[in-house]
């Protein structure tokens, strides 16, 4: 059975292909279109997936969209009606958006792919999230918690998943919070209030929070009320996102917190205004953590299960994830590498395969590498054409060489195998550097990533050595597999891991398993053999405002436009040294 999963139209479109229950490939549209967070119908991603499966669209047994468009429209219309007449500004825009395309997904899929409309299926948004979290995790049964901004109506769901001995899977959602009461919208509203782009700047809020005190926590608890059944209800008088297309917060929030930050004003933490921003970030982060931990605790008590699968964009909050693991009573927390909407392409396809068609569940490969494979010869060819020194090296030559260069403070663009699905670079499309000196973090932020100084970098460490450098709770090494948890760096190592230790002494660590990323694991050991510390700074291979690189030529382009010293794609190595043969001056 051949099933194509699609997520599209809101942010981060993607496509994924399952054949006989096993994933063949998955890719975000942005990696191919090169437009960051591309929300367009993912035609390039679909074409690439079909090419990988050697399929024509008419050979697909099902195409599954990751949410139910009519149900979503029902919510948009109902909210507009409830807010009448205050919604007069947002209504025309919302209707134009929906009627102009988003509502007619079935027709779009049928016409653009040429598939029969009776083969097009729709999975509820949070069911897609739940399926991504549960059906990709190495568990037979687990509690499931999903949370994001909003899907159709649901914004947060609690439930459980079971796979019986015959391989029959079941996902049961027991209860849900509904729009406009949403943890994801709360966090996103504060992201925008702090001057960061929504659906992208949430990491910045999390990073900024460590510099502040939760000075506004009391106010936040007045804004977010806990309900007797353990849920939440937002005081909507502080928000406008349900009634306005322009901004998420109301005048009342500004009166209580002060003016929002203009996105063009830099954050200077030495000023009272910069500190106020950090305090706001710390307050919202604290409240969201407390609520998530409490909800997880309720779920653990109800299900009595040791494992929790977490999905939805909120699951990208690594600080909250680590607290859930430590404090909720669950022994293991599974967060997929793409818990947000992009991962729903896989989730929707899996849901259709296992639950709609009732096919037997088979273990899902436990890695994030589902995208296009890098072509080393492409890099060698272009670099040679442009007059750069390019070498093809064997692994025994390559790894010690790269380890030596890293030890000498050089910055390496590292591309191996297939591109990751999801927002994290997990060793196949990474920028690597020595993690020891804080000046490296400043250099990377200033000259390579062109981003705010307060943003931390993540360390990667061989899984078997992680505990030596980081305080991992039980289940922490698993949570760190896809860089989904933030954990304390052991005090005695903080100075020697200064470039990856955040101001609060933590790091969003990646534990590298040799079965998942053998060459990256071997590189860490080679670096350890050279320096005594097998830890590397690992950040996504992209420049500010661009998606993570996919093909070798895109890595090369980033290498050319930044202070990256060496570029590795597969076994090809390029340095910034010019070879004797260079192009003549032309203009």
């Amino acid at each position: 059975m051949r099933i194509l999963g699609i997520s599209a139209h809101y942010h981060d479109s993607a496509a994924a292909l399952l054949i006989d229950g096993m994933p063949i490939c998955a890719v975000q549209e942005e990696r191919l279109s090169r437009r960051k967070n591309d929300a367009a119908f993912p035609l390039s991603a679909i074409e690439w997936c079909l090419e990988q499966g050697h399929l024509e669209p008419e050979q697909l047994d099902a195409v599954v969209f990751y949410e139910k468009p009519m149900l979503k429209f029902d919510r948009i219309l109902t909210i507009a009606l409830r807010g009448f007449p205050r919604t007069w500004r947002s209504f025309p825009r919302a209707m134009q958006n929906a009627l102009g395309g988003k509502l007619w997904v079935k027709g779009i899929i049928a016409s653009r792919l040429g598939v029969r409309s009776d083969r097009i299926l729709f999975c509820e948004h949070h069911q897609s999230h739940a399926a991504t979290a549960f059906l990709t995790a190495p568990v037979q049964r687990a509690a499931i918690l999903t949370a994001d901004g909003v899907g159709e109506w649901a914004t947060l769901t609690l439930g459980r998943g079971d796979i019986d001995d015959d391989g029959q899977a079941r996902i049961g959602i027991s209860r849900e919070l509904r729009f406009p009461h949403s943890l994801g919208m709360l966090y996103s509203t504060f992201t925008a209030y702090l001057g960061f782009p929504v659906n992208e700047g949430e990491y910045k809020v999390m990073g900024l929070a460590a510099y502040g005190r939760p000075a506004f926590e009391d106010l936040l608890w007045r804004i977010v009320r806990r309900t007797p059944d353990g849920g939440i209800a937002l005081d909507l008088s502080y928000f406008d996102y349900h009634e306005s297309a322009r901004r998420g917060w109301s005048r009342k929030l500004v009166d209580a917190l002060g003016p929002p930050r203009d996105p063009r004003d830099p954050i200077d933490l030495s000023t009272p205004e910069g500190q106020r921003c950090a305090d706001v970030a710390a307050s919202v982060q604290r409240v969201v953590e407390e609520i998530l931990v409490d909800l997880a605790r309720q779920l653990q008590r109800e299900t009595g299960l040791p494992d929790l699968c977490l999905g939805g964009g909120v699951a990208l909050n690594g600080v909250a994830n680590a607290r859930i693991l430590r404090e909720s009573g669950f022994s293991n927390l599974y967060v997929p590498p793409a818990p947000g909407d992009a991962g729903c392409a896989i989730g929707a396809a899996l849901y259709a395969d296992r639950i709609h068609f009732g096919r037997r569940h088979g273990a899902f490969p436990d890695h994030p590498y589902w995208g296009p494979v890098v072509d080393a010869s492409e890099l060698a060819h272009i670099a040679a054409e442009d007059g750069f020194e390019a070498h093809r090296l064997t692994e025994p030559e390559l790894l010690p060489r790269i380890a030596e260069e890293l030890a000498q403070g050089r910055i390496v663009g590292w591309m191996q195998g297939a591109c990751e699905l999801g927002p994290r670079a997990l060793g196949n499309r990474s920028i690597l550097a020595a993690p020891h000196d804080a000046s490296m973090r400043e250099h990377l932020n200033r000259s390579i990533k062109y981003r705010e100084e307060f943003r931390p970098f993540a360390p990667a460490v061989p899984i078997e050595l992680a505990d030596r450098y980081f305080e991992l709770p039980r289940g922490g090494a698993r949570l760190a597999r896809f860089m989904s948890g933030v954990f304390p760096v052991r005090t005695e190592w903080r100075e020697r891991l200064a470039a990856v230790t955040h101001v609060d002494g933590t790091a969003r660590v990646q534990t590298v398993d040799p079965s998942m990323a053998p060459r990256f694991h071997a590189l860490l050991h080679a670096y350890g053999a050279r320096t005594g510390i097998p830890v590397l700074l690992n950040t996504s291979f992209n420049l500010s405002g661009e998606p993570i690189v996919n093909r070798a030529v895109e890595g090369y382009s980033t290498f050319r436009r930044s202070d990256i010293d060496l570029l590795v794609a597969g076994d090809a190595l390029v340095t910034k040294r010019r070879s004797a043969q260079t192009l003549p001056e032309v203009a």
Binding site: R82, R175, V586, A587
Partner: protein, 245 residues
């Protein structure tokens, strides 16, 4: 090639003088220019990634680097002005006094190198003319004026190389390519305008419906909302996957 203001920009000189006189507005405009230059730099980097011509690749990378540097320069100066200015967050007149338009919504991956070069040449020429006009009205702010002068030197190089490379790749049809690019720019401006007008008209029609048709339904929706429980709700019964509801 020495950039000079276009006749239209000369005509608009009093307006430009008024727009650029206020330090707050000047800061905002420079910060906006910085964003546009950074976007343009990304488009050019994409063009460099896609071309098979090593000479063009090298020039596009250099051009992308220039655009990024311009973005940094504009941003730095914009922030300096912003810090010193009493806040003016009002009208920026971006339609009448824009920055660089880059590839003008052209999809880099769909176009041949010659087409890109023709577009780039026209775009750089227009931007250089505008920047020259802005520099002329900045007597009171020599630093910003010097910034434009510095950027204009790069713009002159960009205009030159795009023209020369167009001549190299399309020696017999370079004039035609430029006319095609001019026509395409006019067409894309028309499409932008038409879609803006259609958007306004559509919004107006929806607004009329909103106030005429929705009130009774709004009343019902508000009444139904009052009876909704606060906090958790039982999960919806799963609907068949063929259903869009």
């Amino acid at each position: 090639m020495h950039p000079v203001p276009s006749p239209v920009d000369r005509l608009l000189k009093p307006l430009h003088r008024w727009i650029w006189a206020d330090a707050g507005r000047r800061a905002r405009k420079l910060l906006r220019f910085a964003e546009t230059e950074a976007d343009g730099g990304r488009d050019l980097a994409r063009a460099a990634e896609l071309t098979r011509d090593p000479v063009l690749r090298r020039l596009f990378f250099r051009h992308a680097g220039d655009e990024q540097r311009h973005a940094d320069l504009f941003a730095r100066r914009g922030r300096e002005l912003l810090a010193a200015a009493t806040a003016d967050r009002g009208f920026e007149a971006n339609w009448l006094a824009p920055g660089e338009r880059g590839l003008d919504d052209l999809r880099v991956e769909d176009e041949a190198d010659e087409t890109l070069l023709a577009f780039l040449h026209l775009s750089e020429q227009a931007a250089a003319g505008r920047f020259a006009a802005y520099a002329e009205v900045l007597d009171a702010d020599p630093q910003t004026r010097a910034l434009f002068a510095r950027i204009l030197e790069d713009e002159a190089f960009h205009m030159t190389y795009t023209r020369k490379q167009l001549a190299r790749l399309s020696p017999k049809k370079q004039g035609l390519r430029l006319w095609q690019a001019r026509a395409a720019r006019i067409w894309s401006a028309y499409l932008r305008l038409a879609s803006a007008v259609a958007g306004v008209l559509g919004r107006l029609l929806l607004l009329v419906q909103y106030f005429l048709l929705l009130p009774p339904f709004a009343l019902l929706a508000k009444r139904a909302a009052r009876s909704e429980p606060v906090g958790f709700a039982p999960a919806r019964r799963p609907m068949p996957m063929k259903s869009q509801y």
